[in-house]
Symmetry: C2
Subunit: 111 residues, 2 copies
């Protein structure tokens, strides 16, 4: 593996921000369940304009959650699960840590 510089752990906040919109979350869910799709295909399932979907895709791309590849006249967007898993781990750590602390507190109070 090549050594990578600038490798400090980036915050998960941008990922959460990207997922914090109903439309975008729906896009992510659709990509996850129905596989890589074109913009028009993604727009059909949505209630907003194609351009709105395009914008959301770029936001998701900026958060490292999706990437696209051109195929003919359409661009196929695909999910990228790494950041998703990072965010998931982050949440797991926080709630686990919290629950452990609460448990300790409860046992302490019960004495």
């Amino acid at each position: 593996m090549p050594p990578r510089l600038h490798n400090r752990p980036r915050s998960s906040a941008p990922v959460f921000a990207a997922l914090g919109d109903e439309t975008r979350l729906a896009i992510v869910a659709q990509l996850s369940s129905r596989g890589p799709r074109s913009i028009t295909s993604l727009t059909e399932g949505s209630s907003v304009t194609r351009q709105a979907v395009t914008k959301h895709l770029h936001v998701l791309n900026g958060a490292g959650l999706v990437h696209c590849s051109r195929r003919g006249r359409e661009s196929i967007w695909e999910l990228d699960s790494h950041r998703l898993q990072d965010a998931q781990r982050y949440l797991a750590e926080i709630s686990a840590h919290w629950d452990a602390a609460i448990d300790r507190l409860r046992k302490f109070v019960e004495d």
Copy 2:
């Protein structure tokens, strides 16, 4: 367990939106690691105003991530891990489902 009406599974988008801000994520992390705290105590660790912290706490509260209880002249804010775990599960499902689909696709292509 009392039967709860209006129990349809609420979207995780509001939770993600609440976590999608650096300041709020820092507050959550601080509550998780240092336990329930007052607003002033949370403000000390932050770079913004007390009122800003207050606003963020209300946003987190709106997403069901924290709750507060008055003690004397200070209000103690506490983490609420349920929604956090919901969101975590949601992310786990999405990425797991996606990875499984990708695996199937790879095996299919390799034939």
